[in-house]
């Protein structure tokens, strides 16, 4: 340690070295320097595209065609677009209907896993898989499970004599949205499960025991001891899940690409179709930006809640 002190002192005599070194020693300057590399990446590839997107949404840009400023016309035109209406409805169904299912199934999963049992660690590891593996690839499994010809569900129901014709899970306009929701619930349940399980494990065992000694039944204990302890994590997981599901893309893209007849389009897939496939970048950017206020509301709720907890 003495050596580095000596070096530091030696540096004081050389003008340039001192200022460079003190830049790395003073908290105020060092903090800024350490933030720089990451902040630069976030500025160039996140903040700048965000503002560029706002600009594009106000133009009639296409691919390879610089657009002209047209004000809010893209946003106004979308309000008259029946596919956009459908997309908005679908997105809300997709995000708001799946989350309660994921939360409820996740809670059940966590309660089951919280029991002492044999093989609990491999079981815990295995049931997390839907959340861990690449969604695009596991969705291909669902793609086949939902296939009009090869679906194992159809095969089973047919052999049980419950149906006579195969179910067209993704081709039937009324059924398609339920099918994509099911795949999403499958994928998101382990996320809630593992987060709630962590919350359950933070419930002091003495509290449970004390309540049991006082004669509280299982349901009573769950309501008055367990629920207050996991309320917070369920809320956080729920808000994160709403934000992610709202802004989803790949699951729908792999299963239906928004079809049949736009019945499963969500903001992400519709923005992709209009912005890239139909090369109307300005309109596509406007579709994506319609997500922003809704995402912002959920993000702010989350932020306020986390701050209050601190």
């Amino acid at each position: 340690m003495g050596v580095s002190q000596a070096i530091a002192r030696k540096g004081e005599f050389r003008g340039g070295a001192v200022s460079a070194k003190s830049l790395f020693e003073r908290e105020s300057s060092l903090g800024v320097i350490l933030m720089l590399p990451g902040a630069l990446l976030l500025m160039v590839f996140m903040a700048y595209p965000f503002f560029l997107g706002i600009w594009l949404s106000l133009t009639d840009s296409g691919i390879g065609r610089p657009g002209e400023f047209i004000g809010l016309r893209n946003f106004v035109d979308l309000l008259d677009d029946s596919i956009f209406h459908q997309t908005t409805r679908n997105t809300f169904i997709y995000a708001l209907v799946t989350v309660p299912f994921k939360a409820a199934l996740g809670l059940g999963l966590a309660l089951v896993l919280n029991n002492r049992m044999r093989f609990s660690s491999p079981v815990r590891a295995a049931v997390m898989m839907p959340w861990i593996v690449p969604t695009a690839l596991s969705t291909l499994g669902w793609f086949m499970i939902f296939d009009p010809v090869f679906s194992p569900i159809s095969w089973l129901l047919k052999n049980l004599g419950l149906i006579s014709k195969n179910i067209n899970f993704l081709g039937d306009p009324t059924l398609a949205i339920s099918s994509v929701c099911l795949a999403n619930i499958w994928r998101g349940t382990p996320f809630f499960g593992i987060i709630i399980l962590a919350g359950l494990q933070a419930v002091p065992a003495e509290l449970q025991e004390a309540a049991a000694i006082d004669g509280a039944g299982m349901w009573h204990r769950f309501l008055h001891v367990t629920v207050p302890h996991i309320k917070g994590v369920v809320l956080i997981a729920g808000l994160l899940s709403i934000i992610w599901t709202f802004a989803d893309f790949q699951l729908i893209y792999v299963l239906t690409k928004g079809g049949p007849a736009n019945q499963t389009h969500i903001f992400g897939t519709y923005a992709y179709q209009i912005g890239l496939s139909a090369t109307e970048i300005g309109v596509g950017a406007a579709i994506a930006l319609y997500m922003f206020p809704i995402l912002a509301v959920f993000a702010i709720i989350l932020l306020v809640y986390l701050r209050r907890e601190e």
Binding site: G2, S4, F24, E25, E27, S28, S29, L30, G31, V32, L34, P37, G38, A39, F45, P49, F50, L52, G53, G108, L109, V112, N115, S121, R124, A125, A126, V127, M128, M129, P130, I132, V133, P134, T135, A136, L137, S138, G141, I145, F150, P152, W186, T189, I194, I195, G199, A202, V233, A237, W244, Q250, Y253, F267, G268, L276, A288, L295, L303, E309
Partner: protein, 281 residues
């Protein structure tokens, strides 16, 4: 009497629901795996029980390696995931340390900004970002993903590492500073070795997210030989009206396997990483 009642209770309350969850959550993987090792003709044989294997074959896997660009997709995914993970971890260690330990102008504001960046989804940015990538001439290069993935990873990893650094007692640092160590020396020699579990969590989580990413890879890597596994499989293996289900499922199984393998080795780190943001303590 009491014992048998306890057993039937456990059966009803634990094992029955557990069976439901295991079947529901793992069936798609079971299905993908058995289809991937069946000859294509067996799929069309409706009298066969589709839930079981009549004839085992690795033909679908052989096809994948000999007739598709799958090996190249593996290489691309590996390169992109490893490099973006390293870049993200490097940036996140610095940000995490700065936010955890240093007081500097704007630190509060930047902390909130990083948290909000965590909530910005790729679907909000992909159209303008595609233009940025095009202007920089990065289309169909590894850089397109290596530079954009960290924007999805840095916020999460910084947040996680910041929490980790805060658990390290300040006294260790203070005494080292009294001995004449600089801040950076302390970070490298003392904080990082004490934070290996946190670095592992952030690292494997970042790697997994890179491996799984779909939207940016779909748009920025349009040339067949530059695709990543998820994009290559989804866009190049589903083409004709008659699907080659066997090789499609084989590619999904193989593409998922490294992540499943990594995960099963580091379950604890995954779970602590996942719950770091949501559960305190």
């Amino acid at each position: 009497m009491v014992g048998s009642e306890g057993l039937s209770n456990r059966l009803l309350n634990i094992y029955l629901p557990l069976v439901f969850y295991v079947v529901f959550l793992l069936f798609p993987f079971y299905w993908m795996t058995i289809v991937s090792v069946k000859p294509t003709n067996d799929l069309f044989e409706m009298k066969y029980n589709p839930f079981w294997i009549q004839k085992f074959t690795l033909e679908n896997y052989r096809y994948l390696f000999e007739n598709t660009a799958f090996p190249e997709w593996v290489k691309n995914t590996l390169i992109v995931s490893v490099v973006s993970t390293i870049v993200s971890l490097g940036c996140s260690v610095l940000i995490g340390y700065a936010l955890a330990r240093l007081r500097f102008p704007g630190s509060n504001f930047l902390g909130v900004g990083i948290f909000l960046a965590y909530l910005v989804p790729p679907t909000l940015l992909f159209l303008p970002l595609a233009q940025v990538i095009a202007k920089l001439g990065l289309y169909n290069t590894y850089w397109a993903l290596i530079l954009t993935y960290p924007t999805q990873l840095i916020p999460f990893a910084s947040w996680l590492l910041m929490g980790y650094f805060r658990t390290i007692p300040k006294e260790i640092e203070e005494s080292a500073m009294a001995d004449g160590c600089s801040r950076l020396q302390i970070l490298v020699r003392m904080i990082l070795p004490l934070s290996i579990p946190g670095l592992l969590s952030a690292g494997i989580f970042s790697f997994t997210l890179c491996w799984n990413e779909f939207l940016y890879a779909l748009i920025f890597m349009s040339s067949g030989s530059m695709k990543t596994i998820p994009v290559g499989v989804v866009s190049d293996m589903i083409k004709a009206d008659t699907l080659f289900w066997g090789s499609l499922m084989a590619s999904a199984v193989l593409g998922s396997f490294p992540i499943a393998f990594l995960y099963s080795f580091f379950v604890k780190h995954y779970i602590s990483g996942l719950t770091a943001g949501a559960v305190k303590g």
